[in-house]
């Protein structure tokens, strides 16, 4: 595939993925309000459109039309930069996530991943260090939170952002360490390679158990640690002390209104998407699923994307379900949990996994 076609394909993929991602974010807010409403024995949005389906549109119009306040004593440059930084960093991590194998349109074959390439021999490759890029972008996302609170020149915002950034950098460690078990089993940092090493079935003692070769089965502890650390990274219940409404007014985004607040909001939901995509890629086999033979060829080409979407939807639903069910941790409980329980558990997981991998050859 020559350079010009590659660039055109990449631009189309970027536009499509960003559009789908932002629409997905908008409808995740609808899903959240509906599901939490039902958990709390009430309806959720019902008035705007059938089943309240146009509620995100109404919210979007509200955000655009609201007055965009710039309080007097804020540090203007950082005040405007912080939400943009948060949103841009959360969108960058979508670039390395593979949604499926390849798709062939009008004779051109392209990989279903923004940063994926097909070599002249037809082999798909992607970035060697895809997983590290996602971790790096998560680390830079902490700046959005820290600068937002500091530039707002208000006590509540500063305290909220200090707590939030301390929480995020503490749980980044457990997040990274929980993924080392996956690296030991798959042998590569590239997301496509990790999904590829989850194909087939587990073979125990010479028999083919018909259990898929997903890494959730050996790495159940790693999965548990990853999920908890990711919930803390995305500031969701039970770890959402920094932005809880009943606590520090609204934490680090107290002074933000209209579009800047909407950007923080979108950044949080896009982070949720990234975590859900990573969980399904690393632990649940990505786009592997049963092969349905009765579909037409285009349907069969898009079937992996459907399996991937179903797994991501399951994880988003899990996020919303936990939000409706659990209370939130107090801040000192949260930090103690991250340092004194999750981190030693993640290290123990690495040690045990490496022993088993070395013993099996």
């Amino acid at each position: 595939m020559d350079t010009k076609t590659f660039i055109i394909a990449a631009v189309i993929k970027i536009a499509l993925v960003v559009f789908i991602m932002l629409t997905g974010v908008a409808y995740t807010t609808w899903l959240e309000r509906k599901v939490i409403g039902r958990i709390q024995n009430r309806w959720g949005p019902t008035r705007v459109g059938p089943f309240g389906l146009l509620q995100p549109l109404a919210d979007g119009i509200k955000f655009i039309l609201k007055e965009d306040l710039l309080p007097d004593y804020v540090h203007k440059g950082l005040f405007i930069l912080a939400p943009m930084l948060a949103l841009v960093m959360s969108l960058i991590s979508i670039a390395v996530i593979p949604f499926g194998e390849t798709i062939t349109i009008a004779g051109h074959t392209t990989a279903l991943q923004i940063s994926g390439m097909i070599s002249s021999k037809g082999a798909i490759s992607d970035i060697n260090i895809g997983l590290l890029i996602i971790l790096g972008v998560t680390s830079i996302g902490v700046y959005g939170v820290a600068l937002a609170g500091w530039s707002s020149n208000s006590k509540y915002s500063l305290l909220g952002s200090l707590r939030a950034s301390a929480q995020m950098i503490s749980y980044e460690l457990s997040l990274g360490l929980s993924l080392v078990g996956i690296l030991l089993l798959s042998g590569s940092l590239s997301l496509r390679e990790i999904v590829f090493s989850q194909s087939g079935h587990w073979i125990v003692g010479g028999h083919d158990t018909h259990i898929p070769h997903w890494f959730i089965f050996p790495q159940i502890v790693g999965f548990f640690i990853y999920l908890l650390a990711a919930y803390a990274e995305t500031n969701r219940i039970p770890f959402d002390m920094p932005e809880a409404e009943t606590e520090l007014v609204a934490g680090y985004h107290t002074e933000y209104s209209s579009m800047k607040f909407a950007m923080f909001f979108m950044a949080e939901y896009v982070n949720m998407f990234t975590v859900a995509c990573l969980a399904s890629l690393l632990f649940f086999g990505g786009w592997h699923g049963p092969h349905l033979a009765f579909l037409p060829p285009l349907g069969q080409a898009l079937l992996p994307v459907l399996w991937f979407a179903l797994k991501v939807f399951f994880f988003i639903f899990l996020y919303i379900w936990i939000r409706g069910t659990l209370p939130r941790f107090r801040y000192d409980q949260l930090m103690a949990f991250g340092w004194k329980f999750l981190l030693p558990l993640a290290i123990a997981n690495i040690i045990i996994t490496s022993f088993i991998v070395a013993w099996r050859g």
Binding site: H75, L78, N128, I129, L132, I133, L135, G136, T138, S139, I140, V142, Y143, A146, L147, G149, W150, L158, S161, L162, S165, A166, I169, E172, G176, L189
Partner: protein
């Protein structure tokens, strides 16, 4: 390979601009953010040099953890913009020309040895991959690796003790 040179010049320019901004800004938070920009563009230059793992580690550890620590401390201590005191004027008139002379001498020497040093390229062979670095780190450089882990432990203990309030 003209694209390689263009990319290097662009990222190098961003690096130097960020470093100059670090010196020029009065408020430490602006200096900290320009240092983050310098580190990010250095990570991109490492990618040009084929060091993909080092580039990722630069972003994760340096720009994403060490600089967050700096920004934290600046936010916590809430120090304002710095004032001019007497000592710095003298250093300004002697130091800036001195550094320009030093950097200029090194640069002139390097440019005029030009051909003898050769060039670097983005090589197509696998170089700087994670498993190669891991092999070196855990076999040839195992002792320094273990010593650095003890060093980090000592640093953690020192930071905790120094940061404690006395009451």
């Amino acid at each position: 390979m003209i694209i390689h040179q263009v990319l290097f010049i662009v990222f190098g320019f961003i690096c130097v601009a960020g470093a100059v901004n670090l010196l020029v800004q009065r408020h430490p938070i602006n200096s900290a953010l320009s240092l983050v920009v310098v580190m990010a563009s250095l990570a991109l230059i490492y990618l040009l040099l084929g060091a993909e793992f080092v580039a990722a580690i630069q972003v994760i550890v340096y720009a994403g953890a060490i600089m967050v620590l700096f920004v934290f401390v600046i936010m916590l201590l809430n120090a304002g913009a710095e004032e001019r005191t007497r000592g710095s004027s003298v250093a300004l008139f002697v130091g800036v020309p001195g550094m320009i002379v030093l950097a200029g001498t090194v640069g002139w020497l390097l440019v005029h040895s030009g051909g003898q040093l050769g060039g670097v390229t983005i090589s197509s062979s696998s170089f700087g991959e994670t498993h190669q670095i891991a092999r070196l780190l855990f076999k040839d450089f195992l002792l320094p690796f273990e010593i650095t882990s003890v060093l980090i432990l000592i640093a953690i203990m020192g930071a905790v003790v120094l940061g404690k309030r006395e009451n």
